[in-house]
């Protein structure tokens, strides 16, 4: 099965980086150390798995566990159509991980979305700013401690823009 082959190739290429790997409900999943993400992602893209596409990137907030934020990446190979999920745990305080914008262009917006909604920082991101919410928005709505119905202060009309 292609998923298993991908995991084997990953284990061989980055033995120290993999904390845990296996199949979960048919999906190939590997948990890695966050500092190894650039190397793992580069291997997945350029190495034998040939994962040409960064399919998706998101985060899961697990406030009760050590390593509160779980970054989740989905990669896809267009040769074998195998998919792999890579996960990395980040601490609750100052969560930061390397940006993948140097490898995939869509990482730009995907990382900005995670920055916006979870408050994760991406090192070396060229324009780490909010994507879906406005600049004056307080907090990160997809964190579990953000109340569902919290109201935000109204922002005043803009004074400094073009035409003013």
């Amino acid at each position: 099965m292609e998923e298993e082959k991908t995991l084997d190739a990953l284990r061989d290429a980055c033995p120290g980086a993999i904390l845990e790997a296996g199949l979960s409900l048919g999906d190939a999943v590997a948990v890695i150390r966050p500092e190894d993400l650039p190397a793992v992602a580069a291997f997945l893209r350029d190495g034998p798995p040939r994962m040409a596409m960064l399919l998706d990137l998101t985060c899961v907030d697990r406030p009760d566990e050590s390593g509160r934020f779980e970054m989740v990446y989905h990669f896809l190979s267009l040769e074998t159509y195998a998919r792999v999920r890579i996960k990395a745990r980040l601490p609750a305080v100052n969560p930061e991980i390397a940006s993948l914008t140097g490898l995939w262009k869509n990482a730009d917006w995907l990382e900005r979305e995670v920055f916006d909604l979870f408050g994760i920082c991406f090192a070396d991101h060229p324009n780490l700013s909010r994507l879906l919410l406005y600049d004056g928005f307080e907090g990160h709505p997809l964190r579990k401690d953000y109340p569902l119905r919290r109201r935000q202060p109204r922002i005043p009309p803009r004074q400094d823009g073009p035409g003013s």
Binding site: D56, T58, W109, L142, G161
Partner: protein, 444 residues
């Protein structure tokens, strides 16, 4: 607060704010442009104007109740959005659904795909000045939506594809209606081809405009017709077939140049393939009719059944209200997986017995309903725009711990700045139109 472009723009440049209220921006996207005359030097695309907090909302809804929110993601192909979500939950549950429900799902998805492509191309053509094409395509979409409406009861917010199966049996006369709709749609496609394919104005606005290379399309995570327009034949229906796609005959059309015209062409060709799929599913469903509801014997309305159930077990058939039509007890077996507690119980039981009533409440009430085991899944379908994926994390509770949508249109729109750089202001309109930006899916 200033935008990145405002900080970086040269002193001689003109900054122009396009949208979100510009008609071609569909009210949900803003492009800040740095112009030299009509030439675009740089741009900054801003999204989030429709942001509804879909993912946060889903965390507070039960697995059953959040289905209606998936309808509203891509409101021109809600059935595919339903399907993507239920396939992810079914993967989590390990559910196998009946054959008939599979064919119905494929049929409905393809009807949705055609209506999605029709809407995209109609808007693209209209914004480029071809208003007749818009009217023709809207006419075809109406034929398809009539068919969808007769079965699902709604034109846009269908919520028809349910966890474990489909909500109800196809409406009476579905086969004939579908045949007519397919025939009329084919006629419209032929007319549109005649109007656009060699039209010098349309070609001037689309040929070699908004060109995307194959490498860049991959780097941006493009999928669907936009990726295929660059020559890559990635289609989830072929790559990882779900339901019965592996048993059906269809081709994956690809383009060559990756420009606006190729994106139009690929969608046109794809619609023909979808019509083929609709016909194949329609034939299968006609050859394999579902169980009939016995017409003989006494039929009673729910109120009568409830009254009788106070004294003894009601005898006779209970007539369901019009919004439940097609989900009669006799038909459930061919429409839903056999998994008590996971799929909704027969409505008639709720009227006729205390155990049925309790079962009904237990399925639908908050805190009691469907509880997938702990775990996480990613499942995807080929949506109108490309790979539509759902990543769901379950903690064993009755609502998702986390639900994330892989929206194809986010990846496509993120490349807009690059596509229009160096082009003229007027090129934004057909380029943006060919991307099929859907606010509900993009902003979520």
């Amino acid at each position: 607060m200033t935008t990145r472009l405002e900080r970086q723009a040269g002193p001689e440049s003109l900054l122009l704010n396009m949208g979100p209220s510009h008609p071609a921006m569909h009210g949900t996207i803003r492009i800040m442009l740095e112009l030299d005359g009509e030439r675009i030097l740089a741009s900054e695309v801003e999204i989030g104007f429709l942001h509804r907090g879909f993912e946060k909302t889903c965390e507070s809804k039960t697995f059953f109740n959040l289905l209606i929110y998936t309808d509203r993601l891509n409101y021109v192909s809600p059935l595919i959005n339903n399907l993507g979500y239920v396939l992810a939950v079914e993967k989590l549950l390990g559910l196998e659904i009946p054959e008939r429900a599979r064919y119905i799902r494929v049929l409905m998805s393809e009807l949705s795909r055609v209506s999605d492509h029709l809407t995209c191309l109609a808007a693209m053509a209209m914004e480029s000045g071809a208003f007749t094409v818009f009217l023709y395509m809207m006419k075809a979409r109406e034929f398809l939506w009539d068919v969808i409406e007769r079965t699902t009861g709604a034109r846009m917010t269908t919520s028809y594809i349910r966890i474990g199966g489909v909500r109800a049996e196809l409406a009476d006369g579905f086969a004939a209606d579908t045949r007519t709709a397919v025939k009329e749609t084919r006629k419209v496609l032929k007319d549109v081809r005649g109007l656009l394919d060699r039209n010098p104005i349309f070609l001037a606005r689309t040929r070699d405009v908004g060109v995307m290379s194959r490498e860049n399309a991959l780097a941006y995570g493009w999928t669907g017709p936009c990726l295929r327009s660059t020559g890559l034949a990635y289609d989830v229906r072929k790559a990882r077939p779900y339901l019965v796609y592996d048993r059906l005959a269809f081709d994956v059309p690809v383009g060559e140049r990756g420009d606006n015209f190729d994106r139009y062409k690929v969608r046109m060709l794809e619609m023909e393939q979808s019509l083929r799929l609709i016909e194949q599913c329609g034939d299968w469903l006609e050859r394999h009719p579902g169980p009939a509801v016995p017409a003989d014997g006494r039929a009673m309305v729910p109120a009568e059944a409830i009254r009788e159930a106070r004294r003894r077990k009601p005898e006779g058939r209970i007539i369901l209200s019009p919004n439940l039509e097609g989900s009669e007890k006799e038909r459930l077996e061919s429409l839903y997986a056999c998994a008590p507690g996971v799929v909704p119980p027969a409505k008639e039981d709720a009227y006729a017995s205390m155990a049925g009533l309790i079962g009904h409440f237990q399925y639908f009430m908050t805190g009691h309903g469907l509880r997938p085991p702990k775990g996480e899944v990613y499942a995807s379908v080929e949506g109108g725009n490309g790979e539509l994926g759902y990543y769901i994390v379950s903690d064993g509770g009755d609502r998702p711990y986390r639900l994330h949508l892989r929206a194809p249109c986010l990846h496509i729109v993120s490349a807009l700045e690059e596509l229009i750089r160096g082009r003229l202001l007027a090129d934004i309109i057909p380029t943006f139109g060919s991307m099929n930006m859907i606010g509900g899916e993009l902003d979520r």
